[in-house]
Symmetry: C2
Subunit: 182 residues, 2 copies
DNA sequence: TCGCACATGTAACGTGTTACATGATTAG
DNA sequence: CTAATCATGTAACACGTTACATGTGCGA
């Protein structure tokens, strides 16, 4: 999915600034779609406005910089919903952690172990964030996708806990430089 | 992760042609890392050879076109393992299916249902592919990551089966153009 | 006979990232 | 005082995709 579609999806639900769209795309539920940076969001919004799919108004704030608030137009809504009827791209899962796991036999056990712990921490954090979102968000479809993500992550977390020792056992044992060499 | 690293990872385990690297990256376990196309693999291999991280030899075949078989060099092995010591990038999960799910209330129930079925089929296929790989591959680390992927997909599959009706219920009921309008 | 699997490679193109430029307020 | 948050935007650059060019053998 591309940044254009992400912007339309977010604006479909509520008005937002470019800044806010980026926040939503990096945290919580919208991160399931694309993680976008400013450098792609601002140009995407500008183009969307040119094409009449969104409009913007500027709001001055005391002290803080002005905000450019975007709204979706009826044409934008229609275009977005229409795009959902087109064939869906396949889901993507990519993991550098699994690459490390694949090469565990070539790596010291303490490196493998600390990477597992990092991964576990990361999963815990994402679980906490999503839990917060379940409370805040009221729409039932939002709830459904958040629960889906939440349960998937809980599964990953539990699986890793249960099987981490097997992976560590495959790694090179840490050389104790002191006594009992063999 | 980038295509360079993917090439080194695959060549670390066995010699391969560009064609084969692409196959491995689209099917089975290596798809956890990056899915690369010819247009990125061939230039990456050429650059890797220039830099002395891999070497190639050409093998003629009767009838079929010649094959250019790449091997990793000791320098390449070292560089690859070294890269595994560097901080790991976060795992990525992106789903167009979930975008559709988020907008279920705006979509007809039959569309939502058929997309769920597609997703389920896709998961079943991937599960079958990975099962085959478990039998073929003997290295314990390979087995470990395949099992991780396999169990994650089985979980997703089961979760979807258990909760699909809730999502379909959120969608717009299909209009029966015949009798009993209200 | 049609299309797929094998097999390599280039060129044009699109999309997105990183770094930069700018600047006030607030919490630690 | 320092870092983070809010806030917008551009330019250079990296990376990868798609389409094209080329060609054989095999199975349905």
């Amino acid at each position: 999915m591309n940044v254009r579609t992400l912007c339309l999806a977010i604006l479909y639900q509520a008005d937002a600034t470019g800044y806010k769209i980026r926040k939503l795309s990096t945290e919580g539920e919208y991160a399931y779609f694309v993680e976008a940076s400013f450098g792609s969001i601002y140009p995407a919004l500008a183009r969307l406005e040119e094409e009449g799919l969104v409009t913007s108004r500027i709001e001055a704030q005391q002290g803080k910089p002005h905000r450019k608030i975007y709204s979706i137009t009826p044409v934008g809504r229609e275009a977005f919903i229409k795009s959902l009827f087109e064939p869906t791209g396949a889901d993507v899962f990519r993991s550098e952690f699994l690459l490390l796991a694949l090469f565990a036999p070539e790596l010291p056990a303490d490196l493998v172990e600390s990477r597992i712990i990092e991964r576990l921490d990361c999963l815990s954090n994402e679980i906490e964030t999503l839990k917060k979102h379940t409370c805040e968000r009221n729409e039932p479809a939002d709830q459904w996708i958040i629960r889906y993500g939440l349960e998937s992550m809980r599964f990953s977390h539990a699986y890793l806990i249960a099987h981490k020792d097997e992976l560590i056992a495959l790694a090179k044992p840490a050389q104790k430089p002191t006594l009992a060499a063999q």
